[in-house]
C-alpha cells in the first residue's frame, strides 16, 4: 500500500440523461491529476453523484468518454475498473465479519491466503481497528463501520478511491474527526480520491480542489481558499460560506472595478467578477466578517445601517442590520473582550474594502 500511486482521471465532454428529455450532467470536462483529493460539492440533484457513479461504472455515460490513466473506461465493467469505493451507508456485508469484508476484494482477486491475512490486518491497523476483525458490522458503532468501509476500499491497493457522502450518517463531532483521518490516509497513501458531499465545510477541510456542481454544470473548480475568496458566480458565493447579498445595477466600469447603484440609490464600489457592461443587473457578495464597524475615511465603501438584532455567540457577535434596504445584512464582530457598545435600533456606519465586495451575476 505504501508504494501505491494515484491514478489520473479525465472526464471528456461527458453528458448524462436518464429520461432522454433532460440532462442531469451537462458537458462535463474535468481533469484530475494523480494523487489529488478532489471533492464534488453541490446541492442534491446537482449531478455530482451521477458523475461519481459514471466513474465507478454503475451508470453509463450518455455521451462522452471517461479516461482512467489515459485508458477509456466507458466499456469496462465496474469490477474490472479497480476503483475502491466507500458508499453513503457503508454497504458493509452484514453476513460477513469485518475481516471477511476486508478479505472479500482480495479473495475475488485470488490473492494467496497468507498475503490476504497480512493485508487485512494492515488495513485494519491503518484505521485503528486491529482487534475488531471478528466482529460483525452490526456490532460496530457508526464511526467504526465508517472506518471499516474506508479500509475495505483501500485494502486491494486501488489507485483511485471514490467516496459518496461517506460521513453523512455520523454525528458532527465524529464527522470532523473522520474528516481528518481520511485526509491523513490520503496524504499517506497518495491515492487519488474523488469525494462527493453536500457539506461545504467538509469539502473545504479535506480537498485539494473542489468542484462546485449545480444544475449539472461545474460552477467553479478551484482550491478551497480560492473558492471562498474569489467566487466566480453568485451560486458559488451563496453555497460556500456565509454571504451578504445586495442587488443593484452596474453604473460604471473601470478596469477590474465597477460602480454599482443599489435599488435604494446607494452607490458602492466592487470588484468586477462577472458583469460585462454598464446597465447589467448584479448581485454584490460580501462576507460578514469583512465588514468593519471601525470605519475610516480611506475605506472604499461606507454605508449607514440600523442594527436590528444582536446575537452573542461567544467568539464573535452576529449583528443583523438593515443596510440599503436589506434587513438580512449580517456582520460578524470578533469578540475582543472590550464589550463594544452596540445597541439594537442604533444607526451606525459600516465599511469595507473594494476587494471584499464582489460584483457577481444577478440572482432572482
Amino acid at each position: 500500500m505504501a508504494n501505491a500511486r494515484g491514478a489520473a482521471v479525465k472526464y471528456d465532454s461527458v453528458q448524462k440523461s436518464y429520461d432522454g428529455e433532460s440532462l442531469v450532467v451537462k458537458n462535463l470536462n474535468l481533469d484530475i491529476p494523480p494523487g489529488e483529493f478532489l471533492t464534488m460539492l453541490g446541492p442534491s440533484g446537482s449531478g455530482k453523484t451521477t458523475c461519481l457513479m459514471m466513474l465507478a461504472g454503475f451508470e453509463p455515460a450518455t455521451h462522452g468518454e471517461i479516461y482512467l490513466n489515459d485508458r477509456p473506461i466507458n466499456n469496462v465493467p465496474p469490477h474490472k475498473r479497480g476503483i475502491g469505493m466507500v458508499f453513503q451507508n457503508y454497504a458493509l456485508f452484514p453476513h460477513m465479519s469485518v475481516a471477511e469484508n476486508l478479505a472479500f476484494p482480495l479473495q475475488v482477486r485470488n490473492v494467496p491466503k497468507a498475503e490476504q491475512e497480512q493485508k487485512v490486518q494492515r488495513a485494519l491497523d491503518m484505521v485503528e481497528l486491529g482487534a475488531f476483525g471478528n466482529r460483525r458490522p452490526a456490532q460496530l458503532s457508526g464511526g467504526q463501520q465508517q472506518r471499516v468501509a474506508v479500509a475495505r476500499a483501500l485494502v486491494f491497493d486501488p489507485e483511485l478511491v471514490l467516496m459518496d457522502e461517506p460521513l453523512g450518517a455520523l454525528d458532527k463531532q465524529l464527522r470532523e474527526q473522520m474528516q481528518y483521518e481520511i485526509k491523513h490516509i490520503h496524504e499517506n497513501l497518495g491515492v487519488t480520491v474523488v469525494y462527493v458531499t453536500h457539506d461545504q465545510t467538509e469539502a473545504l477541510t479535506m480537498s485539494d480542489r473542489v468542484a462546485v456542481f449545480n444544475d449539472g454544470v461545474i460552477q467553479q473548480l478551484s482550491t478551497p481558499d480560492d473558492l471562498y475568496e474569489d467566487p466566480q458566480n453568485s451560486f458559488v458565493a451563496q453555497f460556500i460560506g456565509e454571504n451578504n447579498k445586495l442587488s443593484g445595477k452596474v453604473v460604471g466600469i473601470e478596469g477590474e472595478e465597477c460602480l454599482v447603484e443599489l435599488d435604494d440609490g446607494t452607490q458602492l464600489k466592487a470588484d468586477r467578477v462577472n458583469v460585462s457592461a454598464v446597465g447589467d443587473r448584479t448581485t454584490l457578495s460580501l462576507r460578514p466578517e469583512r465588514v468593519e464597524f471601525d470605519t475610516h475615511d480611506s475605506m472604499d465603501n461606507l454605508v449607514n445601517g440600523r442594527i436590528e438584532e444582536l446575537i452573542y455567540l461567544g467568539d464573535h457577535i452576529r449583528v443583523r442590520m438593515n443596510v440599503a434596504g436589506n434587513d438580512e445584512f449580517i456582520v460578524k464582530v470578533r469578540n475582543r473582550g472590550e464589550r463594544r457598545k452596540l445597541h439594537v435600533g442604533e444607526t451606525v456606519q459600516v465599511g469595507w474594502a473594494l476587494n471584499d465586495c464582489k460584483a457577481l451575476d444577478a440572482v432572482a
Binding site: 465507478a56 461504472g57 469490477h79 476503483i83 469505493m85 451507508n89 472479500f104 475475488v108 475495505r152
Partner: protein, 421 residues
C-alpha cells in the same frame, strides 16, 4: 443512577414498593390489550385449539367397548388368550346381559363397526347376534347358544380383539397408522401388502420437498425481478403474481386438467408440432407429475411473497459495493446477495412445505392414485370409512412430523433466520 443497594427495595414517595406501583400502573394497559385480542382469542380457542385437542384425544380414546359391554369387559379380563380356548360360561352370561341392554339401546351395531376396523367380520357378528338375542333362553347356558348363533363366538381371535380393546385408551390407532398391529408376540408389522400409511407419509414428504424446491427455483428469479424493478412496473408484475390468488382453487385445478390431460391442450400441441406422435401422448395428470405441477402453481405465491419482501430490504448498494471491490456479476450475487436472501428462502420454504404437506384438494383432483397424499387418506377415514380414531392418529402423526421438521430446521438454519418482511 440507581439508589438501591443490596437487599434494599426501591419505593415510591409514599413508601410503597416501586415494583407494585409499576404493576398497578401497567395493569390497566394490559387489561385493555387483553380485551382487544379477546374476541380473536376466543375464536381461535373454539375453532382451532379445541378441535385439535379433540382430535389428539380421539386418536387414543376407546371407551366404546367398556361402555357397551361393561360386565363382559370385567369378566373377560380374567381370561387368558394363551389357553387357546374361548372364555367360559361366566363371560358369556355377562355378554348376554350386556347385549340385551345394548340391543335395546341399539348401540351394539356401533360397537360392531368400531371393532370391524380391527378385524373384519365383527360388524356382521354383532348384527347377527343382535337379531338372535331375543330368542335366546334367559337361563342359559349361554356359551352354546352364542356359538349356535354365530360360530365366531367360539373363536379365540374374536375374544382376543374384544379383550385387547377393552381398556378405555388404546394405542391401536397409532399402531395402525404405523402399519403395525398387536399380534400374539407383541407389536409386529402388518403383512407387506397391507402396509400403506408409512408409504403414504414418505410420498407426502417426498412430493412436498419436490414442490418446495420447484417453487423456489421458479419463484426466486421472479422475486428478484420484482425487488429490483422500479415500483410502478413491479406493482403490475405483483398483480400478475397475485392474480391466481384471486381465482378459485377449483377453477385453477380444473384448468390444469384441461391443459395436462392426454387429449388436452399441451398434448395436442406437441402432437401437432410432431414432437411426439399420437400414440405417445404424455401422461401428465392423475399421477405424481400432475400433483407436482398443479401444486407448484398454487403454492408459488407463498414462496414469492416472503422472498420479495426480504429482497426488497437488501440495498442495491451491497451488490454495487461487491462489484466495485472486484467481484463479477455471479460472485457478487452468490457471495453477497444470495446469503442475505436466505431468510426469505427459509420463510418461503417453510410456508410452502407446511402448506403442501397437509394439502388435500389438489392431489384429490389431479393426483390419481400415484399422486395422492396422506391427507387424502385422512379425509377418506373421516368421511367414508368413518374410522375417526385412525384419521385422528394419522393427523396427529402429520402434526408431529411437521413439528419435528420445524425443530430440525431451527437447529440447522435457525428459526430467527426466517423473515416474512
Amino acid at each position: 443512577m440507581s439508589d438501591t443497594t443490596d437487599g434494599q427495595v426501591l419505593t415510591t414517595q409514599d413508601g410503597k414498593p416501586l415494583k407494585a406501583a409499576l404493576r398497578r400502573a401497567l395493569r390497566r394497559e394490559k387489561l385493555r390489550a387483553f380485551l382487544l385480542i379477546a374476541p380473536l382469542l376466543i375464536f381461535v380457542l373454539i375453532t382451532f385449539v379445541a378441535p385439535i385437542v379433540d382430535m389428539l384425544f380421539r386418536s387414543v380414546e376407546n371407551g366404546i367397548v367398556a361402555d357397551t359391554l361393561p360386565k363382559t369387559v370385567i369378566e373377560l379380563s380374567k381370561w387368558d388368550p394363551a389357553s387357546g380356548e374361548a372364555p367360559d360360561e361366566v363371560v358369556f352370561a355377562a355378554l348376554y346381559d350386556d347385549m340385551v341392554i345394548a340391543v335395546d339401546q341399539k348401540t351394539h351395531t356401533r360397537l360392531g363397526s368400531r371393532l370391524n376396523y380391527e378385524q373384519s367380520g365383527i360388524s356382521s357378528l354383532f348384527r347377527k347376534t343382535g337379531r338372535r338375542i331375543k330368542r335366546m333362553d334367559e337361563d342359559g347356558p349361554f356359551k352354546d347358544q352364542f356359538i349356535g348363533a354365530d360360530k365366531k363366538w367360539g373363536d379365540v381371535a374374536t375374544w382376543q380383539v374384544l379383550q385387547q380393546f377393552s381398556p378405555r385408551y388404546t394405542d391401536g390407532y397409532f399402531l395402525n397408522a404405523f402399519d403395525a398391529k398387536r399380534g400374539a408376540e407383541g407389536i409386529e408389522m402388518k403383512p407387506e401388502d397391507q402396509q400403506i400409511y408409512m408409504f403414504l407419509f414418505g410420498r407426502t414428504l417426498f412430493l412436498s420437498i419436490v414442490i418446495t424446491l420447484s417453487c423456489l427455483l421458479l419463484g426466486y428469479p421472479i422475486a428478484f425481478l420484482l425487488a429490483s424493478l422500479p415500483l410502478r412496473t413491479s406493482n403490475l408484475l405483483m398483480i400478475l403474481v397475485l392474480l391466481p390468488f384471486w381465482t378459485s382453487l377449483l377453477v385453477r385445478t380444473s384448468a390444469w386438467k384441461v391443459l395436462l390431460q392426454q387429449q388436452g391442450v399441451i398434448n395436442d400441441f406437441l402432437v401437432w408440432t410432431r414432437l411426439i406422435d399420437d400414440a405417445g401422448r404424455l401422461v401428465m395428470i392423475n399421477n405424481q407429475t400432475g400433483t407436482i405441477i398443479a401444486m407448484t402453481h398454487i403454492l408459488l405465491p407463498f414462496m414469492i411473497l416472503p422472498l420479495y419482501s426480504v429482497m426488497k430490504t437488501i440495498s442495491p448498494s451491497y451488490v454495487r459495493a461487491a462489484k466495485s471491490l472486484g467481484a463479477n456479476d455471479w460472485t457478487a450475487f452468490w457471495r453477497v446477495y444470495f446469503p442475505q436472501s436466505v431468510p426469505g428462502i427459509g420463510a418461503g420454504a417453510i410456508l410452502v412445505f407446511i402448506l403442501s404437506i397437509g394439502y388435500y384438494i389438489t392431489p384429490e383432483l389431479v393426483g390419481g392414485t400415484s399422486g395422492i397424499f396422506i391427507s387424502n387418506r385422512i379425509a377418506y377415514h373421516i368421511s367414508s370409512s368413518l374410522n375417526w380414531g385412525l384419521a385422528a392418529s394419522l393427523g396427529t402423526l402429520l402434526l408431529v412430523a411437521v413439528l419435528v421438521l420445524f425443530v430440525v430446521y431451527d437447529k440447522i438454519v435457525g428459526i430467527d433466520n426466517v423473515k416474512l418482511g
